[in-house]
């Protein structure tokens, strides 16, 4: 094992190399580009024995990954924002075809207006595609998660594609020290890719992804749904096994920070959990029993784990880095739905923050916690509040 200072993007590339990926097909887009540049370098130098297909678009990148995975290869791509939307048809195809592809999504806001900065609307727009969606907080976690993603994807109880989501610039371009596992350790954790039992074997005639009539279509979708349920268990097992190998565990589907006795918690996903944790430390020093619930998976959505974690809490602040105009935000509504059946329903207030890379500081998180507690005490509806909006919300009505 060695310790290196690397960026989030380099961590993805290293994870791909250590996972002995066999086919990479990718197309450049900021802030993801450095991942595929690095992989291209590994391939050219012979450090990674893989086929690198320099496709002409993201739609083709995912189509090529689908072809490769159908042909039994371990396949990887990476994208962001417009690229993810452009490949969306094939993202859903990969999910429905049950192909264990791994994709890094370096999260970035959607245009217009053009923005290269971080938010989560790109990845979350694909949440019903049948992909497992994992979210990292640190460079180390990006590296570990990339390797784990292949184990989850290829698990016979899962056989679903996996997205590793990392925040554009905030994580992709952040340099942090990371422990790099030995190749031999990764090889023992992630054995060489065996083709899935249903790979397109040239000696076995069969037609893949044919038309399913109404009498079978639903069953295929049900299988996908069940596989996603299985992924809940497999993600946790893989996290535990990784811990036995490296000493690092991230808590499976949710990473809880100071939640044991917490009365209020901030719930979010992505790298800004670090700022939320800093805020919680400050609040704790002032006597506010606060914690952070960081979703490591948004698909499968960790409904049961979430219920267990927030049990006993008074209030939850769900902070979305995404927008669903008219809803108005994604995690907020999903969390509320997940907790609806709790015996004692926790108060859930929503916040929209950090869109298009707007800075969100520990101070903002402190205000978020206070606003949540206030709403809880006053018995106000837990509606969604915009954070850091110029002129405030009313100024824009």
């Amino acid at each position: 094992m060695s310790r290196l200072v690397i960026s989030g993007n380099e961590a993805v590339a290293l994870g791909v190399k250590l996972s002995r990926v066999q086919v990479v097909a990718a197309y450049p887009i900021t802030p993801q580009t450095a991942i595929v540049e690095k992989i291209a370098e590994y391939v050219e130098k012979g450090e990674l024995r893989a086929e690198f297909i320099r496709v002409e678009s993201e739609h083709s990148a995912m189509a090529a990954c689908i072809g490769a995975a159908a042909g039994g290869a371990r396949a990887f791509t990476a994208t962001s924002s417009q690229g993810l939307l452009y490949m969306s048809e094939m993202v859903f195809w990969a999910g429905g075809a049950r192909l264990p592809i791994v994709m890094a999504v370096v999260t970035r806001a959607l245009a217009p207006p053009w923005s290269i900065w971080c938010d989560h609307n790109d990845a979350l727009s694909q949440r019903d595609s049948g992909w497992v969606q994992l979210w990292a907080e640190s460079v180390q976690e990006v590296l570990d998660m990339t390797i784990q993603a292949f184990r989850v994807a290829e698990d016979e109880e899962v056989l679903l594609p996996v997205m590793v989501c990392l925040d554009g610039f905030i994580l992709s371009h952040a340099y942090e020290p990371a422990d790099i596992p030995e190749q031999s350790a990764v090889d023992s954790f992630l054995p060489e890719k065996k083709p899935a039992p249903y790979w397109l074997d040239p000696s076995k005639p069969a037609a893949y992804c044919t038309i399913a009539a109404p009498d079978t279509y639903m069953e295929f979708r049900y299988e996908m749904y069940r596989a996603m349920k299985n992924a809940e268990r497999v993600i946790k097992e893989v996290d535990e096994e990784w811990c036995r190998l490296t000493g690092r565990s991230y808590g499976g589907l949710v990473d809880c920070y100071r939640c044991d006795d917490a009365e209020v918690a901030i719930l979010l996903c992505g790298a800004w959990a670090g700022d939320a944790k800093e805020a919680v430390d400050i609040l704790r020093r002032k006597g506010v029993k606060a914690g952070v619930v960081r979703l490591r998976a948004t698909r499968p959505f960790p409904t049961e784990d979430l219920r267990a974690v927030v049990e006993g809490m008074d209030a939850l602040a769900v902070v979305d880095r995404s927008l669903s105009p008219g809803l108005p935000s994604i995690l907020w509504s999903e969390v509320r739905a997940a907790l609806y059946d709790s015996v004692k329903r926790v108060y859930v207030k929503g916040f929209i923050a950090g869109l298009g890379g707007r800075d969100v500081t520990p101070g903002d998180f402190i205000r978020i916690v206070h606003s949540t507690l206030e709403g809880f005490r006053r018995g106000e509806p837990g509606e969604v509040e915009w954070i850091g909006l110029r002129g405030g919300e009313s100024g824009h009505h």
Binding site: A97, A206, A207, Y208, T210, E219, F220, E223
Partner: protein, 87 residues
């Protein structure tokens, strides 16, 4: 569990769409006395419903022949006639 594979993987079968011969409104009939075994009907049948025997004699598989009439149209010696399909 539904007992289905993870995704729709179909396996090869004659009559994947059923007995397509039932679609036929007209029936091609070969007059073997005129046939010169040129195999053009076999070559051009889109359905693969002209059976070619070892000796290159031909026969129509009425289970699957859709009655398009290409075989009759292409037969160089007009050995195939098209007749109305009876009930």
């Amino acid at each position: 569990m539904s007992g289905l594979p993870v995704t729709a993987i179909a396996t090869p079968r004659r009559g994947a769409a059923g007995r397509t011969g039932l679609w036929r409104v007209e029936r091609p009939v070969i007059d073997h006395s005129r046939c010169i075994k040129c195999l053009l009907c076999w070559l051009y049948c889109p359905e693969g419903a002209v059976v070619r025997h070892e000796d290159n004699s031909v026969e129509i598989d009425y289970d699957y022949c859709k009655g398009c009439g290409i075989c009759a149209n292409e037969c160089p010696v007009r050995a195939i006639t098209v007749v109305a399909e009876r009930e």
